[in-house]
Assembly symmetry: C2
Homo-oligomer: 300 residues x 2
């Protein structure tokens, strides 16, 4: 427990970033990551890695950061705490594929602590298919459930519902995609020692590559039409809306003077908006019908 | 003064919408507006008018609404007032041109009143060129200054600075475009009777067509390259960022269950994001240098 220091966690996250980038380059087979190291004037910094125009990934980022300094006032107010120093580290991923059949994926794992002794883990993985294919959504959730179940039978149902609520584009009354898991403020208040929570977060991080590899399998080789590409760009528009209007991480980053280019690496290469756009094919219609909360994907 | 009723104001705004739509159809020469009438369950409704794939306008909207009901809690809290009914009416315009040389334009004029007797006008016009051309920006501001000066010598300097502050993409440290005028909470507290404020707002509304006609002149016939179109889409991405992250009207509309398709008519037909995108031509570089507050365009 005392063994789990912030340095250890940050160090492990850099290793995770390395492993994931290497695996994604293999999976892509063409593009490689470009790295930018940056420093934050108030303390800490990060390693942004972006990839573009690959065989599989049109635009994506795998970012690591470890930042520190005075805790932002917003957090102190929310927690009703006096001034304290904070430290936050994590890995964030968003990948936008070229092929409209391949889903967008997002993962974040993070750790936060303050000089007053408060600490927590947070994170999540979610999948945003442009076309929802049930078996694929089921398989994705199965990966997440398997990971969760190794740690607690409560985790998957709780974190799956949390993702349904979190990744919700309220003004469109639709979920961002088929969801996944989301968790925050994971600390030792539920009788699980820090070491156990940390092992869970590590496991989530290591679920990314197998889950994504399965998610792209077969789909990446499917042909697409111009109409499929238009639909993809419309769906990407919704992704932009979620990230800029609702996503708390994005909001927090922009509000606290984070590195804009790293935060907004989540935005797609190209998006479209059309007034009152309507689905045209059966699969498009079915996709919209499946963008809702509460679907039991594992048993679908 | 008592003569200026909410019904009169709303009625005049529908007339403004008609006039502007007719003029824009003439200016476009190809596309015509499509109208949707909608009702708000809590009270009132609107007339959304959209246009697309024209000679000049690729995607645009000219919306009228007049809504009423219990005042949203946010406003009551901000004003520290007990419950009251509200009425709000206005015309909102955003036009995205096809040709990257032609600027994006936005206008809003609005009136708000509550059953407790509080009322105010608000509004603004601002121009967002993809390529800033100084004489065009100067001419646009001259239109606005002429309109303002007819009512008070204080208006243009005050409302021009207000626009610089309001239309600011904070996380990019750049203005949305070359600005214009912005004003809010215009009431009789400065010794100007309601009738005078209303005449000013009407004049702003009627400035839209001459100002925009001048803004597109010559530019609409310029040829453009694929690279110009890419640049346009990158700049449109910034427009999306402003509207979804910073624009108070958009936020208020989405927060209060407004009609999403009418609110988000402001988004462009197509936008692009590229990690660490850099300007390539001198004009692109100059454009970025001119996206800042405090430029005295009238005397530029």
């Amino acid at each position: 427990m005392e063994g789990i220091t912030k340095e250890h966690i940050a160090d492990w996250f850099t290793g995770l970033q390395d492993t994931i980038c290497r695996s994604l380059e293999q999976l892509d087979g063409k593009a490689i990551f470009h790295e930018d190291q940056w420093m934050r004037p108030e303390g800490g910094g990060g390693r942004s890695r972006v990839i573009k125009n690959g065989n599989l990934i049109e635009k994506g980022g795998v970012n690591f950061s470890a930042v520190s300094g005075p805790t932002p006032t917003k957090i102190l107010h929310a927690l009703k705490l006096p001034e304290a120093e904070f430290f936050a580290t994590g890995v964030s991923i968003v990948l936008h594929p070229e092929n409209p059949w391949v889903p967008i994926i997002h993962m974040n794992v993070r750790y936060f602590e303050m000089s007053n002794g408060i600490w927590w883990f947070g994170g999540g993985i979610d999948l945003t298919p442009h076309f929802v294919i049930k078996e694929k959504a089921k398989n994705f959730h199965q990966h997440l459930k398997t990971t969760c179940d190794k740690h607690s039978p409560d985790f998957y149902p709780k974190f799956k519902n949390w993702a349904d609520d979190y990744f919700f584009v309220k003004h469109r009354e639709e979920t961002r995609g088929v969801g996944g898991i989301f968790f925050d403020r994971l600390t030792d208040n539920e009788g699980r020692p820090k070491d156990d929570q940390w092992k869970f977060v590590q496991d989530v991080g290591e679920t990314f590559i197998p889950a994504y590899s399965d998610a792209v399998k077969q789909l990446r080789d499917r042909d697409w039409t111009d109409a499929d590409k238009v639909w993809q760009k419309i769906r990407r528009g919704r992704y932009v809306e979620f990230n800029l209007v609702h996503d708390k991480g994005t909001k927090f980053g922009l509000d606290t003077n984070g590195r804009t280019e790293s935060i907004l690496m989540s935005l797609p290469p190209e998006a479209k908006w059309e007034y009152e756009h309507q689905p045209e094919t059966d699969l498009q219609k079915e996709t919209l019908e499946l963008l809702k909360k509460g679907i039991d994907w594992v048993n679908a």
